[in-house]
């Protein structure tokens, strides 16, 4: 069991009152809050050891470089990567996905090739492929959903053939909470010789991930959804694939030699880290990884599951509310999207905010998914380590207020 009380005391923002109410922060799927350990780690670098990394032959630069590479090591251990060099720091999950799309997809794909993804993807795993498809003449294909909001593996199997060269799928939907069977998708991809990218933006913060057993060839995620700062993301890749992948950006730090008309790349991971990297943010992510590791990712997953189960139960009491996502907690993360009959998601979010409950309203950067569900917007509540049952109760109470304001409580 997690000591949520002690965890909550590490997050100063949770003490804030919002519109005079206790804050129930239920939007961690968009971005999580930060513990003091992360804030302190970053402040410590800025105050005591700040200088550009991999450049200066002086003490401060050396200390900052060591802290940066130590953060890389922490992330590698967190993911059980084969080596630190498999961890490429980017500015976000979106940048990680784009690095793979440009570095791999742009150079490998040809007309007639296929990129296979799913309808439940975030725009960050769709739009880069639109661009790459336009450049290469490759075609973008989709795996569909079942009626219970899971990937339809039966029809998906038929999509895997030798034309498929890249498979790009989310490890956990930011809208539905669905966790598709990555192992089976990996097996199918391997059979046709395709490379598998997993969008881990939701998966990595909320579930134990071992890249050596996950089955993916590449994994992208961001720091700010897992207690770390904004401006930092990670692309993990199998070393042999990273070595054959082209850089997507050129600049300082990523070269071995530069002449007037050509240049040679540095070794991985540096060949993918052009320019001054967000190293203070990487160090913040390292502190977040320490924090999550101390809790244990199995415990994080179990905590999210317990809250999700409780929330699904309580939300079922709200008249007119329908959840878009699996109805149980099997292979499901703690993002719960719902529609409340007669009240638009924005109105729900505005009213909930007045009650101190922070939720996301809109299309969640997954317009193709919402369109396939017949929606233009929905409300989403999502959980993390600092959430407690009281937050769910506040959500349910605030939904009753929304229904009363809209004259829907039958009075």
């Amino acid at each position: 069991m997690m000591d949520t009380e002690s965890i909550r005391s590490d997050f100063p923002i949770l003490e804030r009152r919002i519109n005079g109410r206790r804050l129930a922060f239920l939007d961690s799927a968009a971005s999580s809050q930060k513990p003091v350990q992360v804030l302190d780690a970053m402040a410590d670098i800025y105050r005591n050891s700040y200088a550009n990394v991999h450049r200066g032959a002086y003490t401060l630069s050396q200390e900052a470089t060591e802290a940066y590479e130590e953060a890389r090591h922490k992330v590698a251990v967190f993911l059980n990567a084969a080596s630190d060099e498999e961890i490429i720091f980017t500015r976000s999950a979106t940048a990680a996905m784009n690095l793979f799309a440009y570095g791999w997809g742009l150079n490998i794909l040809k007309p007639g090739d296929r990129i296979l993804t799913s309808v439940m993807e975030h725009h960050a795993n769709i739009v880069p492929w639109h661009i790459i498809a336009r450049h290469t003449g490759a075609e973008l294909c989709y795996m569909e959903l079942t009626d219970d909001y899971r990937l339809d593996m039966e029809s998906a199997r038929e999509r895997f053939d030798e034309r498929v060269k890249v498979v790009a799928v989310s490890g956990m939907s930011n809208v539905l909470g669905t966790m598709p069977p990555v192992d089976e998708i990996a097996r199918l991809a391997r059979e046709v010789g395709a490379v598998l990218l997993v969008d881990g933006a939701q998966l990595v913060p909320h579930a134990p991930v071992d890249v050596q057993t996950l089955g993916a060839d590449f994994l992208g995620f961001s720091g700010h959804k897992m207690l770390g700062p904004t401006g930092i993301g990670v692309l993990w890749g199998r070393r042999e694939l990273l070595e054959s992948m082209e850089p997507a950006e050129g600049g300082g730090e990523m070269i071995r030699d530069v002449r007037l008309h050509d240049s040679d790349w540095a070794e991985v991971p540096h060949k993918f880290e052009a320019g001054t990297p967000p190293f203070v943010e990487a160090i913040g992510l390292g502190a977040a990884v320490d924090y999550l590791s101390a809790i244990g990712m199995d415990a994080v997953l179990e905590h999210d599951r317990d809250l999700t189960g409780y929330a699904l139960e309580r939300l079922a009491e709200v008249p007119g509310l329908s959840v878009q996502g699996p109805a149980d907690t099997v292979d499901r993360g703690g993002a719960i999207s719902f529609d409340l009959a007669g009240i638009h998601a924005h109105d729900v979010a505005t009213i909930l905010d007045q009650e101190g409950v922070a939720v996301r309203a809109g299309h969640h950067c997954a317009k193709p998914l919402l369109r396939s569900l017949g929606l233009t917007a929905s409300t989403r509540a999502s959980f993390y380590v600092y959430n407690v049952a009281e937050d769910v109760d506040a959500l349910v109470d605030a939904l009753a207020v929304a229904r009363r304001i809209f004259g829907l409580d039958g009075a």
């Binding site: 638009h344 924005h346 109105d347 007045q354 809109g362 299309h363 317009k367 233009t376 917007a377 809209f406």
Partner: protein, 151 residues
């Protein structure tokens, strides 16, 4: 309380029973507006005869504020000259601006308009993220008129 100011009964009434919600056969000015951040969508169809808007259709979907604003706007501009609509639009947007305290407000004595309803949207100003919802139909109306004038 701010919520009651935002969700006044008249706004909820327009949201539940939107006026002018029709596809206009023979419309000669059309524009579609959307808010890519939140997905609100509005389609404005106008029949402009001479310099007067003689009929309006307001369709779309979105939150109560965007849809009620569009419904009220239809009532307010129908039968008005383009010049008068321009003045009204300017005043509405003035009312919606966060520093709109200096705006003279909408003149309730103006004949033929449902200005009282429009003023009910003043509560939106306390919710800055929702101001764009209220403005969406008006911006789209401006685009429809601009498109008509540019032929």
């Amino acid at each position: 309380m701010a919520l009651e100011e935002l969700y006044r009964e008249v706004i909820l009434d327009h949201y539940r029973s939107p006026r002018n919600r029709q596809a206009l056969g023979g419309a000669n000015a059309v524009a579609e507006g959307n808010n890519p951040l939140c997905g609100d969508e509005v389609r404005i169809e106008l029949l402009i005869e001479g310099d007067e808007v003689t009929a309006i259709g307001v369709t779309g979907h979105g939150c109560s504020i965007s849809q009620a604003s569009g419904s009220m706007m239809g009532d307010a501009v129908k039968g008005r000259s383009i010049e008068a609509i321009r003045t009204l639009t300017g005043r509405f947007k003035g009312m919606m601006s966060i520093d709109g305290a200096g705006d003279p407000g909408l003149d309730p004595s103006r004949p033929g308009a449902v200005l009282g309803d429009l003023e009910a949207l003043q509560g939106v100003r306390k919710f800055p993220v929702r101001i764009k919802c209220a403005n969406l139909p008006w911006t789209t109306l401006e685009e429809a008129i601009k498109g008509f004038e540019e032929g």
